[in-house]
């Protein structure tokens, strides 16, 4: 052991070279994906098991038991999900989000929100598409659990900061879900993704992570080129769950 007296007589060695990596650590995007925690799966890509909620959870657990997004993308899937969760299944997840319906919508907006508000308290987030919010005030009952997702270019609105700002004025407690593939489809320079984080980063609750099939809005496993392209944005989101909207990349 070095005594204080000895230490004071001799010159100290410099710090490790790794210390210089403070601002540029994790230069390889692949490391970002494979080591991020918590990572989770969206059941939205598991079309074959749709409405078999126990089966979907089992499939999601094969990706991660830490985080999950249970997707009731069609409105007629919501009653089954509510019943499944009301049965208090033994879910292992630390973070549980539900994707609100975006297809086959029939219920009036306030009735749909009332049904979503029935989700049990351990559901952490209810992800909604802003282009389907006609009356923002109707969504107030969801409080802090409501999470707004930025949209892809095929939607009427909800892509840019100015599209979302007005919603947050009415819904100040709502969170933000950065769909990185959507942002990249609107602006492949990734400047929009950074703008969204600059504006709504303090509200960020989760990231949707995937690539988009060229010219379409369907989510596919993350392309290698997108891992590199998204790395700078993902580096700003090290603390929130990343939800895979397509199967994990095979590599």
């Amino acid at each position: 052991m070095t005594s204080p007296r000895r230490a004071s007589r001799q010159a100290a060695f410099p710090g490790l070279a790794f210390d210089e990596l403070r601002a540029t650590s994790r230069p390889f995007s692949r490391a970002l994906l494979t080591t991020h925690h918590p990572l989770g799966a969206s059941t939205g890509y598991m079309a074959a098991a749709r409405e078999d909620w126990a089966g979907l959870v089992e499939a999601a657990c094969r990706v991660s038991t830490f985080a999950v997004e249970l997707s009731a993308l069609a409105e007629d899937e919501l009653p089954g999900l509510l019943a499944f969760l009301a049965g208090r299944p033994r879910l292992p997840f630390h973070y549980l989000s539900v994707h609100a319906p975006t297809k086959h919508r029939r219920l009036p907006e306030d009735k749909l929100v009332a049904r979503l508000a029935e989700l049990p308290p351990h559901v952490d987030a209810v992800v909604a598409h802003p282009d389907l919010i006609a009356d923002p005030a109707a969504w107030v009952p969801l409080g802090r659990r409501l999470v707004l997702e930025n949209m892809d270019p095929r939607k009427a609105t909800g892509q840019r900061v100015e599209d979302l700002e007005g919603l947050y004025d009415v819904l100040p407690e709502a969170g933000f879900c950065l769909d990185i593939a959507h942002a990249a489809a609107v602006d492949d320079s990734m400047a929009l993704a950074h703008e969204l984080l600059d504006a709504f980063g303090a509200r960020l609750r989760q990231v949707h992570l995937s690539s988009l099939r060229a010219g379409r809005s369907s989510h596919v496993p993350l392309y290698r080129k997108d891992e590199l392209r998204f790395a700078g944005v993902l580096r700003r989101c090290p603390d929130v769950p990343w939800i895979l909207e397509a199967p994990p990349p095979p590599r």
Binding site: L16, F18, L197
Partner: protein, 305 residues
């Protein structure tokens, strides 16, 4: 300027700090004329986060009129075993000895990492310096977090977590919420300055730690989030913590947490909010510790064995 300001405006933290400053001034006035060289407040006072319902846990450090201090500051039921008492630094410094029981350890660690002087700031600073010297006496090395203090801090954190279960169902939901937030902030706020010692040589360790531990724990965290290029995660962590302080300062919601049984908490929306905020605070701190260099390497090197 507080290190926290770079992360945004945090209404609840700012209000809590203002309440703390006013309260400290008030208590100092009450102690006028009492023989008390140094009196420190612990807990939320030490974190400068006084909210509705905060306890007033004090320690008289060194000689003085303990009965007089108690007459002026009061004594909270249930904490007298540990706080609201007279202590001396030599006793607190018997670290790891047979007589270093949980009470002595709690007093020492909270004095070092979560206290503020009501009267006698010089004596308070000297007490912290002496405690640090007791930890560092035989262990001063270049670019190495001091193991003795690190191990005692980890021991204290685990003690808190174990005692949480040992205390049974009384105020279970409130204690659970605090364990995930304010107690987590206390532990991480004690830990990060120790890991920062990796960047300095032996002669600088005591000065660095003393400067850090005189700051509120949240400011120590803010300094670390900024230093290790984690501003976004830091902003979310402090936003969640700010909301938690707002919850604690709301008598209705705090009262609900105090009254909930363990079974009721599982389906209670206020408890669910508190749990979510706690998760977000811990997520931010874990990202800082495990996804930023060189902290990731330091955690691996020092935190397990």
């Amino acid at each position: 300027m507080s290190a926290l300001e770079a992360f945004g405006d945090f209404e609840q933290i700012t209000a809590a700090r203002a309440r703390t400053a006013i309260g400290l001034h008030h208590f100092a006035s009450r102690l006028e004329g009492i023989d008390a060289g140094c009196v420190a407040l612990m807990g939320s006072w030490g974190r400068r986060e006084v909210t509705h319902g905060s306890d007033t846990d004090w320690l008289l450090i060194g000689p003085g009129d303990v009965a007089g201090v108690e007459a002026r500051l009061g004594s909270a039921s249930g904490t007298r075993e540990v706080f609201d008492a007279q202590v001396d630094v030599p006793t607190l410094s018997r670290i790891g000895a047979a007589e270093d029981d949980t009470r002595n350890q709690t007093r020492r660690l909270l004095l070092l990492m979560e206290s503020v002087a009501v009267v006698g700031p010089d004596g308070h600073r000297e007490a912290l310096r002496a405690l640090l010297a007791a930890y560092l006496g035989r262990e001063r090395r270049d670019r190495r977090p001091p193991r003795f203090l690190l191990n005692d801090l980890v021991r204290y954190w685990r003690t808190m977590a174990v005692e949480f279960e040992g205390k049974g169902d009384r105020k279970w939901a409130l204690r659970h919420a605090k364990l995930r937030t304010s107690r987590t902030v206390l532990f991480a706020g004690g830990l990060l300055p120790l890991l920062e010692c990796h960047h300095v040589v032996a002669e600088e360790v005591e000065r660095l730690l003393l400067a850090r531990y005189l700051e509120p724990p949240v400011d120590r965290l803010a300094r670390a989030f900024a230093s290790y290029d984690a501003m976004d995660a830091g902003a979310r962590t402090f936003a969640a913590y700010d909301q938690f302080l707002g919850l604690l300062d709301d008598p209705e919601r705090r009262g609900r947490l105090e009254d909930l049984s363990r079974e009721e908490a599982a389906t209670d929306p206020v408890f669910a909010d508190a749990r979510r905020l706690g998760r977000e605070v811990q997520q931010g701190l874990l990202a800082l510790l495990f996804e930023r260099e060189p902290l990731r390497r330091l955690v691996r090197q020092y935190l397990i064995f």
